[in-house]
Amino acid sequence: MDRQLLLSKLKTIVASYSHDKDALEYLSETTDFTKDLKINSANLVDVVLDVEEEFDIEIDNLSMERMLNVSAAIEIIESKLKEK
């Protein structure tokens, strides 16, 4: 999947949980889910579940541990898509 497309799908997902609309507007690969987007930790679980549904992949616990920012999320999604 094209990286831009992947990023835009991810942006749609995190938009539902972000408490910082400016940071969301300027979302980039360095954006941190909790520090920048102010997503609360209970909603990080929703981000992971939404990603699983959207991309039809399974995020194992080890991957979830690292899913703290956009670049890690993209890297994890890309690697899970390759495994399919």
Binding site: Y17, N40, A42, D46, L49, N61, E65, R66
Partner: protein
């Protein structure tokens, strides 16, 4: 070292649907899920266990310089509820931490420490105003805010 965590139950209810498929499995061990399903108030148990994990994560992450989103690596056990008070143990990477929680109709607050009984801490819970950061000058040992509430603990 101490850590605390507050959950605004109204906010949690509005923001999080823990009943969604797969949610509990990502966060809780099978023993913890058992506690939730057998609790007289499952919603309260979800947020009690959650706040125990968060409060302990605050200590463990500072102690070990460990940053991860790994609620499944913090195991709650020995959870005892008596009226509006709860106590428990959270184990992370083989280290045991101790927790004490207040179960109020509107919020759950947990304080965690490295020994039992937990170091004497004074806890101050007030309404949270995001524009008022003056609490930072009071040097709290640990800070948590969620929804309508700000919780500070001092040693």
């Amino acid at each position: 070292m101490i850590g605390n965590d507050i959950v605004d139950l109204l906010q949690a209810d509005a923001e999080s649907n823990w009943r969604r498929k797969g949610y509990l499995q990502k966060v809780f061990s099978s023993e913890e899920q058992q506690l939730i399903h057998s609790a007289s108030n499952p919603c309260q148990m979800v947020w009690l266990l959650w706040s125990m994990k968060e409060a302990v994560y605050k200590i463990h992450s500072r102690k070990k310089n460990w940053q991860a989103f790994a609620p499944g690596k913090l195991y709650c056990s020995e959870v005892k509820i008596s009226g509006q008070c709860a106590s428990g143990v959270v184990t992370c990477q083989r280290i045991r931490y101790f927790t004490q929680s207040s179960l109020c109709p509107d919020f759950i607050h947990t304080i965690a420490g490295e020994s039992f009984p937990i170091e004497a801490a004074s806890i101050r819970i007030s309404s949270y105003d995001p524009s008022d950061l003056s609490y930072r000058n009071t040097a709290p040992a640990t800070v948590s805010h969620h929804g309508r509430y700000l919780a500070l603990a001092y040693l």
